[in-house]
């Protein structure tokens, strides 16, 4: 099994990682970068809990090997707040009670931030489809949708 040393750039900081090729980006973030905000759930791309942003696009970090992120800009939940000021979406999650156990929360935050930065013009319906990407076993999703809409207000649908 080959083992390589390479660098990952996460939230603007550089980390040296020595890992076997099979190590996923999600595992490397947690174990080698010490960034345990990213949670691993199903580890085969279904639950979305491990979602991070790579070069501007939200991706499942369990479906990318760590070495594939060499040279890329990776963003995780640790990079959302500016010092003591939460990201508007983080504050909206608190205000809308969009989390209970909190396990899926980092994935939802990075999913919503990543998708709306990529496609700022998306409609409320598009946003609902985006939210269907990730699983939450506690909230029933309605409060997550409310938080997303509070942080990223969508224009009312055009009248027919």
């Amino acid at each position: 099994m080959s083992r390589e040393t390479f660098r990952l750039t996460v939230n603007g900081a550089s980390y040296e990682v020595t890992a076997p090729d099979r190590k996923t980006l999600g595992d490397a973030l947690r174990e080698d970068c010490g960034l345990t905000g990213t949670h691993l759930g199903c580890e085969h791309g279904v639950c979305g809990t491990c979602t991070v942003i790579v070069d501007g696009r939200p991706v499942r970090s369990c479906l990318m090997f760590a070495r594939q992120a060499e040279g890329a800009q990776v963003r995780t939940v640790e990079g959302l707040a500016k010092g003591d000021t939460l990201h508007p979406l983080q504050q909206a999650f608190i205000d809308a009670h969009a989390l209970q156990c909190g396990f899926c929360t980092p994935g939802f935050l990075m999913l919503i931030v990543g998708a709306l930065e990529q496609d700022p013009d998306m409609t409320e319906e598009d946003l609902a489809h985006v939210l269907s990407s990730n699983l939450c076993r506690c909230t029933g999703y309605a409060s997550i949708a409310r938080a997303a809409l509070a942080a990223y207000p969508r224009p009312a649908p055009a009248a027919e």
Binding site: D21, E43, R57, L111, A115, S133
Partner: protein, 295 residues
């Protein structure tokens, strides 16, 4: 679960990639593009490649370009790259619509069009698109290049004529007539799941009659394909709910449906009729984004 151990190779050029394939394909090396099907298969221990040849670092493979009568789609064009029209008129709008039906947003940002054709899942939206519109798969190995028409591409579920040492470098998707109208409909039980029935339908209107009718069905049989019996029943007819229903019902006799623990063959047979009818109804609906250039 974690993927079984393997060695990751990161070639910088297509030549390097095909050289690696020439060396390692016999031992089971696989190409890693978007990885949204292959990596889960490895995590579930359904695939044990000793080597992965990661093509994500190869410059220029992400191109999507109109060229004459087809659209050139490079091996690293992601599903996500089709969300805004990549070609003028109804063709670009159709591809945008279909791309939005593939899995979920963060899967689409990584998964690739060519990867879908190489993986050849019966439920693949892009395999259905290629089978219905027509396409050529361009394969490269150290022996050179060859182009395989879509009619000869699929050998069965998740099986194609690609040789292990060949890299699918691009797909040339045929451009439909500019005045054709299209509809796509897929059914699954939850948003983003694999389709259990999907149809792509299109036609041109000439003096009130349907011409050049295309009906493709996917996720029903091992391989997506056009249903010539259904196309023939619509050719020359006036579009409308009754004509659509009558023709779609022919599909029930034409298909040999897949069966699995959750979906009996008869259910898929009924679904084939429904998805074709709904795709036709969508094609027939007058929507500005689907109108031809002449409209």
């Amino acid at each position: 679960m974690k993927a079984p151990p393997f060695t990751l190779h990161r070639p910088a050029t297509v030549d390097e990639a095909v050289a690696l394939l020439a060396d390692l394909a016999d031992e089971g090396a696989l190409v890693l593009a978007g990885g949204q099907s292959l990596v889960p298969m490895m995590a579930l221990r359904l695939a044990y490649p000793p080597d992965l040849i990661d093509i994500n670092g190869i410059a220029g493979l992400d191109r999507i370009e109109v060229s004459g009568d087809h659209l050139v789609i490079g091996a690293l064009a992601r599903h996500h790259d089709f969300r805004r029209p990549v070609a003028p008129g109804p063709f670009g709008a159709l591809l945008a619509h279909i791309s939005g039906e593939i899995a979920h947003y963060p899967i689409r940002t990584r998964g690739t069009f060519c990867g879908s054709l190489a993986h050849a899942d019966p439920a693949s939206e892009w395999c259905l698109t290629a089978a219905t519109l027509g396409a050529e798969m361009v394969l490269q190995s150290q022996a050179g290049r060859r182009a395989v028409p879509v009619a000869e591409w699929f050998e069965g579920a998740m099986a194609t004529v690609r040789e292990p040492e060949e890299l699918l470098v691009e797909v040339r998707l045929s451009r439909p007539a500019e005045d054709a109208v299209w509809g796509f409909y897929e059914f699954n039980r939850r948003a983003g799941d694999f389709a259990i029935g999907a149809a792509l339908a299109g036609y041109r209107l000439e003096g009130g009659a349907m011409r050049d009718v295309r009906i493709g069905v996917g996720a029903v049989e091992e391989v997506p394909r056009r249903l010539e019996e259904v196309e023939a029943a619509l050719e020359g007819e006036a579009p409308g709910p009754e004509a659509f229903r009558t023709a779609a019902e022919i599909a029930a006799r034409a298909v040999e449906p897949l069966e699995d623990f959750a979906t009996p063959a008869d259910y898929r047979r009924d679904l084939a009729v429904t998805v074709i009818e709904r795709a036709l109804l969508e094609a027939g609906a007058d929507r500005p984004d689907q109108r031809g250039m002449a409209a």
